[in-house]
Subunit: 347 residues, 4 copies
């Protein structure tokens, strides 16, 4: 059994992680921590765990955690992980970090977009970007995994084959993404109140969202060239789900089958990536509660552009599910161990 | 492996049943049928099953199903099961019926409330009412199980201990229940359109809903007396969930602990029934996606009444989960086999 | 033109009041105040007012307001109005208070339910309970109006004729009410976050909600006897609306027409109260955005009980609309001036 | 008083039209028709009109309507208006058509996108495209007005100034639009059921939606050149609202103020178009229930592109409100007569 610790268990991603790990056949949860709820029963906060999980939220003692656990999942606000993790921790255990601290290769880029100092520059080299379908070889031997963001997972995987194969114009990429409200977290903010979010839709952080450089960096690796693109997130009145509608100019004339072959080349063997049939497009309801990413596309001959649509559950493939997928890779388990979650509909 | 067949797999309960059975370690699904979708791939109707279930909807051939399957789940409109099931079928297989045809003991009562002839009177004797926590002894040896209704499961189990122990006035019972929209099914009706249901709440079928006699009959068994009560269903703008707020006059002065002991006597060992702590009340979000029934109560000394609140997921404990619980009992498995579903929140 | 001031304009009721007053032909809004937003443009908080209302939120100077305004609307947390209003203010202007401070006749009852000292006992005598359909004669000459609560308006008006005419057993009253989330206000609280409220329903403050004594007191006046009843509020995933499902034992056998005549006697001439036809029941969607209260009922002969259903928009008839109705009475205008709002559907 | 008739009053747009016209000071509604509800009281279908509108749905007799009414609003499925309207009708009355039949200049384009024969080619010349802010001069003297589509109104007006002034690359336009579910109408369809639409988002009719040629044609007029663009509609779980997120390549370097001046030049005097401040973007909640179109934009220097966001209430500015605005122009009234609707929030 893999002994796991969860730091920051009281956010939505932390709670979803617990749900997945409790149903994982190879994991024993040793410790859960939550700064604001120390000593409190977890199931008094998340009452779905009534009677089935009697854990108490503990204070974070990172070295004790490192000693007791084979893997630590950290779900903390950005800027905190770099202050908690050090070489000593990484010499004792594996760390999978949900935050942004170790996702970008260059601390300077982090500081530009996050408007904050990066206090863990020396660890950046150790970190592997945990996008499983792309980096699984590196993940296997990693000590520190930067679990990708929700928008980024959906956006990168939806577009990457087209970029890797050089079929789209790199200057033409636009990602128009729609997220459910769990993406905003459980913190108190007027803008997350039910009546402020229900029955409306908005774009936010236009051309300035922090997931932009993460998407750009990862897509750049696929083609060896720098990429600048537009990423526009939207807040949608639903609990879960991300839909990314991606646009790009095709460099040449391609048929549906040409592009289909590219996607099958990259994802034909991937358990968690499902390609929709021609004429069918992903909807977030079909992946809810699961670790799947659904991808569909359409070529618009009139404009010479391609529209790619990707859908994930932001709390699963966009956070906790992918984290567990990373754990499975780290510990040599089949990637879908404990993750063969059937999407729940209607949910 | 238990070989299972599903008749009427394209309703919401049918689809949820498939989700649960696919994750059940002892079940092999042999056949699924759906009158209006014969020959069609199930995952083109319910796209959540994309790539993970390649079943084709077949036409119902009841004797073939009976031959091939150890158990048949029937999710058909009321009045149809009685025409499909006969002694021959029951001599070959077990049947768990989701409909109302075999739930009421007396065909006359059925005919009064359903305004339709009952065409299976002779089979009524064979049927066992599949409320697992109450009837599990009878269920073990049953051939035909009438799976209880969603409102009824929640209402009966919430009130039954109080009635069995004789602490409430039988003339005083009022059940004010609130259901999510999956309870209305997937049929086409203006009243189920998004814009007709969203952002509003209504009571419907006041003092005339068909679940009323089912609740009354089952509660009567607990005390040996006839019961007439008020049951008021409400349609609530959410996909899943039933909350039953039940009111009754206490015959005497009781403390919280007095009543608590009664609930613990009946449900203390039940895996699927969770009692909330004093001052805490069930909410449908805490049971969503699971087979749990949460129960809490409050004594109002000012009026001498008790308020009991029960919450279930109508598609799981109120339909497909309970059906699988019945199957587990029928086949001698631990009742929670394949049903240790952690409620999903936020979902 | 009536010169009006609004204190506490940044809550949902305050904003709705502004919407109604802007469309009122006889009102000029002189001042709006909001403690936390002094100096800020109102339309930067509530952007629906972009370009059509350029008011600045001011600090509250109660005597200046009293001097400048013919009427002051106060939408403040309970316990604050008593500290702001005094004889001097009331000698200069009329006050319509949205809070609970002046609703209950006896300060002791207030202190028991609100767990707080009542600091305005001497003003209680001056206050008139602003339930327009009941108290319009007293309202005409009032200086200080306690605008009723949302749940209370709906509950009292739905049941009052039955109590005034003595047809129901006073010990048997149960009110099971369902409210939209605007009822919880705009304050920051985890329990008001979108993901905590969406896709779920719950009862709260069972047998302890502060609107209980308000309902009991007002209903007692209708029959001259003390009444104790059960009031159970529920939080429903929608922005607006209250549905009150009320239960009571009939003292005798009555036909639908008997009871209908009673409702028509009391409400037949009321513009804002609409009786549904036999077999039809109120739904909150049909009153959304309007000052209407819809009432329907059903007699259940099996149990000898009556079920009365009332529906209002909690922000209009349950708060700001009724406040304007009170203002119209105070200033001798037809009661529906500026309030002939057609309910908006779907909304 | 303008005598008005409404054909097809039982759709959502028809009902919203009635709401607006009832509050319009210069209109008398003479006749309402609804094919499937002839003889039925309108307020038994749309119960929000209980007691305040006692109209009966009549059968459509087009010549009688033309005789009795100064203006006829037609809300019929596409392909029907061309069969109902003829020269005789237009010689007797004005017609404002909500459908698509007269929106496209060329019948061939209609037939290509609508996959249906155009049976009213000779009337196309008479039709004026009723986009008020653009065509008000032509509208004044029109006999037949093609009321624009919902997506199209929002998209065209959001982009038009940029195209008219030649600042964007015409090959680069992408419109990613999100609509509430009222846009799908009140017809029975599994895809409009609550549980199929709630808690999910999807793109649909990608690169093939019928509003595409309407947007392209109107935008082409602004620059005298043919335009091909991508238009992607999305179905969003909310009742009302359209948000159009529009992308285009800027031909040159422009500052925020440069572009702001362009928008002010075109819309500075428009009552119904509201420009948001720099850094603020439209959200559908701020226009709900009103005839406003809110527009905001951002220049992304990194990519040289501009993102323009427009928001309307699809049933008001996207349908019935704009129809009334057209009527006001036709009859020489101030354009905002009866349309000074304050957006309702939260709604």
């Amino acid at each position: 059994m893999i002994k796991a610790g969860i730091i920051g268990v009281t956010g939505y991603a932390g709670s979803e992680l617990l749900r997945i790990l409790m149903q994982h056949p190879e994991v024993e949860i040793k410790t859960i921590t939550a700064k604001s709820y120390v000593g409190m029963k977890y199931n008094e906060i998340y009452e779905n765990y009534r009677d089935i999980n009697e854990s108490i939220c503990e204070e974070m003692d990172i070295y004790k955690l490192a000693q007791d656990c084979d893997v630590i999942f950290m779900a903390l606000p950005h800027g905190v992980a770099t202050k908690v993790i050090d070489e000593k921790v990484l010499s004792m255990t594996k760390v999978i970090d949900f935050g942004a601290d170790f996702r970008l290769k260059y601390a300077d880029v982090y500081e530009e977009w996050y408007k904050a100092e990066h206090s863990g520059r020396e660890l950046l080299k150790s970190a592997v970007y945990g996008l499983c379908e792309v980096n699984r070889q590196d993940i296997k031997n990693a000590r520190l995994i930067a679990n990708p963001g929700c928008y980024t997972t959906c956006s990168i995987l939806s577009l990457r084959p087209l970029i890797a194969e050089g079929v789209i114009d790199l200057d033409s990429i636009i990602i128009d993404a729609k997220s459910g409200v769990t993406g905003a977290g459980r913190g108190l903010s007027t803008s997350s109140l039910y009546c402020e979010v229900n029955e409306t839709i908005k774009a936010y952080k236009i051309a300035s969202h922090r997931h932009t450089p993460e998407i750009e960096e990862q897509l750049s690796y696929a083609c060896g060239k720098d990429i600048n693109l537009i990423f526009t997130p939207h807040l949608t009145p639903m609990n879960r789900g991300i839909l990314a509608t991606c646009y790009a100019k095709l460099k040449d004339k391609y048929t549906y089958d040409d592009i289909r072959k590219i996607y099958e080349k990259y994802y034909g063997d991937e358990y968690f990536i499902r390609l929709t049939k021609e004429g069918v497009f992903p909807e977030t309801r079909w992946v809810k509660g699961s670790n799947f990413l659904d991808i569909g596309f359409k070529i618009d001959e009139r404009t010479g552009k391609i529209i790619v649509v990707g859908a994930i559950d932001n709390l699963v493939k966009g956070a906790s599910g992918q984290a567990v997928q990373n754990m499975n890779i780290l510990f040599g388990l089949p990637e879908n161990t404990g993750l063969q979650l059937v999407p729940m509909f209607p949910a």
